[in-house]
Symmetry: C2
Amino acid sequence: MSIINLSKQVALGIDIGGTNTKYGLVNHRGEILEKGILKTEDFPLVENFIEALYQKIRPLLDKHCSQKQLDGIGIGAPNANYYKGTIEQATNLHWKGIVPFAELMREKFGVPCTMTNDANAAALGEMMFGAARGMKDFIMITLGTGVGSGIVANGQLIYGHDGFAGELGHTVVKPGGRKHWSTGLEGTLESYASATGIAITAKKMRAEFPHSELNKYPEETISSKVVYQCAENGDPTAIEVFRYTGQKLGEALANFVMFSSPEAILLFGGVIKAGDFILKPTKLHMERNLLAIFRDKVKLVFSELNEADAAILGASALVWEK
Amino acid sequence: MSIINLSKQVALGIDIGGTNTKYGLVNHRGEILEKGILKTEDFPLVENFIEALYQKIRPLLDKHCSQKQLDGIGIGAPNANYYKGTIEQATNLHWKGIVPFAELMREKFGVPCTMTNDANAAALGEMMFGAARGMKDFIMITLGTGVGSGIVANGQLIYGHDGFAGELGHTVVKPGGRKHWSTGLEGTLESYASATGIAITAKKMRAEFPHSELNKYPEETISSKVVYQCAENGDPTAIEVFRYTGQKLGEALANFVMFSSPEAILLFGGVIKAGDFILKPTKLHMERNLLAIFRDKVKLVFSELNEADAAILGASALVWEK
């Protein structure tokens, strides 16, 4: 009887993003039983957000499991602190300062709540259900609006002394380079390899090449998606945008490899839709900057998880990680 | 009786460097009972080196312990692989290719033998007997002829997938910068922050400033020690050499902090004799390149261990680490 109950245990996985929050009920096999979405930006007050989330999720819990069967809640969120269960100074969220998010959730839902930053959650999801199954040492890089990362070494997520480890998007790849729109740091990876950074690069490069197809689009519509479309159409400037982005990313990855010597680096997020346009230069410049003992050893692969589900799976994996 | 025997257990710690090999018998309290030195470079053949080492160490073992009381041998060596017990493609040693060093030692001495790279061994030594006692997350940077590193996260040394993790001296701090004399990589930390790199910087800078005290020394005598002497005498060019070095080191440290979020970074090795001449600019440029959540949190400290003993203690700590 207890075995049957165990197989019915579920976790609630929640991925909080600046625009949307996705949630899902997940079982041990990584199957999403139910899922849903809530607009994060509609709630300037965190208490209202949690109340709305509860109203959405309560019926799903009632349908799928007893209170006993819900093992806990796992949350991935920007600037979330694993040790303290807080969201701290997240520039993409309305809620300012230090928010005791895990505690508020625990009070509302009555079950344990664990949280970490969104990229760490994605890394856990890959380790439990995705391309990193069986790996003890890998790095996950999420290339979306921003650049996030999750680092696994010796089979464990690296949280660091204060719970904030793995902010590889903010490492400097070009000292004195492009100033970041929000952190103010100069020449960081996120300024080049995020979708936002790619759009900046594209706007600069199209100004230099008047014949580029990129010039057919109004300034405000230039995005990494548009650059990809132009690259697909053979536009040399658009292809160069990805080549340059891949160079910066590859140089950064080489440094990461010499830090933790991972078996693989997993790339994830909207930017990887550019496929070989970005993967090939990334690989080239990673290898070129590696010490001989690391060359031709590190797998550079795209995530296997469905992007829509990965964040939920990753967050739910937090519940069972311990 | 068994307790008394346990307290008499000893480990043999060996630190293999390009020029010299230091060894010592160490007890559980980190006391070095005996120590000695052997010239590594006198032995082009590894078998002869091990035989000579055995001849030197055998009498010490006979004097201090029975075979039973020797728990094992721990070795720190350049390019040593923790998993395989090999020394691989070490540019500073005569022994080329892949040397099964741990196995050769085990055959000769008849006890278990564990090895890792010299900087990892130093990090272990700091964790067991030095400034990192009680820390679970720290990074050790050795600034000597080269730049080495040992990374501890979640209370464990990070060895990586292949046993080669922690080569932070070879991370790029200035893309397209100074070409490394041995690896051929461009703009790596070692090219700037090692004693060798500091001498290169000094030679360049003194050419620009004819009145610098550095110009009183013949070219071949310019070393980080000489630069320190001139800085102590108030020579602005020598002070600028350390400021520049500290800037490059600080920029690199910021990236390392955003990787593993350590409680402290420990600096070790001959270069730290320059004291505040290097520490102050390093700290300044580390903080300047950190994301807000990491600022004013990471301790930047010099090693507490006697340099002559640290390597032996660190190597011996390998024996008891498991």
